[in-house]
Amino acid sequence: MNVHEYQAKEIFAKYGVPVPRGFIAKTVEEAVLNAKKLGGKVWVVKAQIHAGGRGLGGGVKVATSLEKVEEFAKEILGMTLVTHQTGPEGKLVQKVYIEEGADIAEELYLGVVLDRAKEMPVIMASTEGGMAIEDVAAKTPEKIIKVAVDPSIGFKGFHGRELAFGLGLPKEQIGKFVKFASALYEVYMENDAEMIEINPLVKTGAGDFIALDGKMGFDDSALGRHPEIEAMRDLSEEDPDEREAGEYGLSYIALDGEIGCMVNGAGLAMGTMDTINYMGGTPANFLDVGGQANAQTVAKGFEIILKNPNVKAIFVNIFGGIVRCDRIANGILEATKLVDVHVPVVVRLDGTNAPEAAEILKNAGIANVIAATDLGDGAKKAVAAAKGEL
């Protein structure tokens, strides 16, 4: 789960990670009011969406008067912001964060993420703040300092010094930076974060460090023990179909092809998409029915797949382990009663209770259902069906 910048900064502040003062606004009036509350002469109006690259897309503006705050808030609220992380469809901006301006002397980068190979969190710092960190990694990897922290000892002074000296900070700033990095590590560990990114981390004219931006992602499996973070979930940032699917235990991601897929297991689901592609077709979605599939969830799956007007055929590919094929077959029958299944459905059911499932489908005699013997055969038939050749 991801949160907005303003929420990440709320969490940072709780742990003593310095952030600029700011208030969230849903309307232009609120935005102006917030600016007045903050006082000062410079404000930053920042679009709150779950994606990076907001500045380049026109979602972050610096205002030097209250009139400008109003103008920018008007401009940004309600706009569809397109960045390199939103996809071409962009994201609707529903909230702006009004923040006090900062005195920027230098822009740095600081992040914390799990290093899968070392199996411990790693803190990354760079002098190349403000740039996309993936570009820094590609062009000048030597400018990224990585320090892994073994959680069994926790964050120690030496970890911080390695980062601070690595950044080439002057001696009067070493202590401040160590404290900053230590607090950020606490944020990461105590909240079961998956990743934290501060880009840029700003060094002010006075030599203080402040998190000018903040991104946080959390381990979904640990949300149960962080109700206060779960409460930060912004459902409007999530795809409505994906969310609806999730409520039924289905994992769904829309794609732009023509063949709807319903598969059990994420690996086989991806493998099915790959096979469709290999046979000359295009998958319309990723859909993993999970281990608890029953007639109701399968029917729901059909309903969600068929909402997509591009779908010309559906490929049901199940290798039953825990999932029993007869249940899926009954689900298909159920679906044809509840939903208007107006496209051909290629069905491949193998594994647990596959013969019973075949019998169920045969006896039902549904016109649109085409039986397939294996994965390759099913994909081939689905591709042909989508082209109207079956």
Binding site: R225, G267, M270, G271
Partner: protein, 291 residues
């Protein structure tokens, strides 16, 4: 022969009396797995599925001599269960449970390593030595005895791959579902040498996925150490780019973890890479015919 487990392996089940634990332990017993008992705190002294229940793993190990534990406890208790097994001298813990917090697994894995306990999973189908010992949730009937070893991140692709190998007239020595979570136990790199050393295994199937760099590490290892033919498939060639907010994860491994990258590395290591999982069986038949 086989790797890690066989017909004589003594297995206990942690979370024995729960719904999942009961259902799958029953299936494993029916397959022939030597399940010699289970652990459910506060239920020690009872009998379940004809086997004794213990309060602690230590009790279970002392009374039964079990060396392997199959773990079905709920996600929030997984790390405790794994560390208890390690502390009690279990040699291999097979963690089936899905949804354990990453931070918990990080701690549990570090302790397991310290105690020299091997782990498989979490969030995996388990391990099966065909027609001898099934420790996990895979449909046992799919796995016929044979000469092909299998390692897979994905559960259902494990069944798909094994099924194709068997349909081609071959069979499986041992199949291991390693899981695809950020922190996992045994990986390709640790399992490949075991298959290389197993005299019955003549070919190895390796099924990977996008994300992380375990397959790249495997490719490097195969190039230097594996003489047996390897057939590989990487799922996710057509998967959309993740809608993650940050990119920090990809940077650490020094690679984006794409399917194309992994396939190229494996090909360069002499592995027969198939583009569709539908071709795994045929490719295995082909490489075995060449031997």
């Amino acid at each position: 022969m086989s790797i890690l487990v066989n017909k004589d392996t003594k297995v206990i089940v942690q979370g024995f009396t729960g719904k999942e634990g009961t259902f799958h332990a029953e299936q494993c017993l029916a397959y022939g797995t030597k399940i010699v008992g289970g652990v459910t705190p506060n239920k020690g002294g009872q009998e379940h599925l004809g086997q004794p229940v213990f309060n602690t793993v230590k009790d279970a190990v002392n009374k039964t001599g079990a060396t392997v534990s199959m773990i079905f406890v709920p996600p929030a208790f997984v790390s405790d269960a794994v560390m208890e097994a390690a502390d009690a001298g279990i040699e291999l813990a097979v963690i089936i449970t899905e949804g354990a917090p990453v931070r918990d697994m990080q701690e549990a894995k570090a302790y397991a390593v310290k105690k020299d306990m091997l782990t498989i999973g979490p969030n995996c189908p388990g391990i099966i030595t065909a027609q001898e010992c099934k420790i996990g949730i895979m449909p046992g009937a799919v796995f016929k005895k044979g000469n092909v070893g299998l390692i897979s991140k994905s559960g259902t692709l494990t069944y798909e791959g094994a099924n194709q190998v068997c349909n081609e007239g071959f069979g499986i020595t041992t199949a291991v579902g390693i899981g695809g979570d950020p922190i996992i136990g045994l990986s390709y790199k640790q399992l490949l040498p075991l298959f290389e050393a197993d005299p019955e295994t003549e070919a190895i199937v390796m099924i990977g996925e996008i994300g992380g760099d375990l397959e790249i590490q495997a490719a490097t290892y195969i190039k230097e150490h594996i003489t047996k033919p390897v057939v590989a498939f990487i799922a996710g060639q057509t998967a959309p780019k993740g809608k993650r907010m940050g990119h920090a994860g990809a940077i650490i491994s020094g690679s984006a973890g794409t399917a194309a990258e992994k396939m190229a590395a494996l090909e360069a290591a002499g592995v027969s890479v198939v583009k569709s999982p539908a071709d795994i069986g045929k490719k295995v038949a082909e490489v075995l015919a060449k031997k």
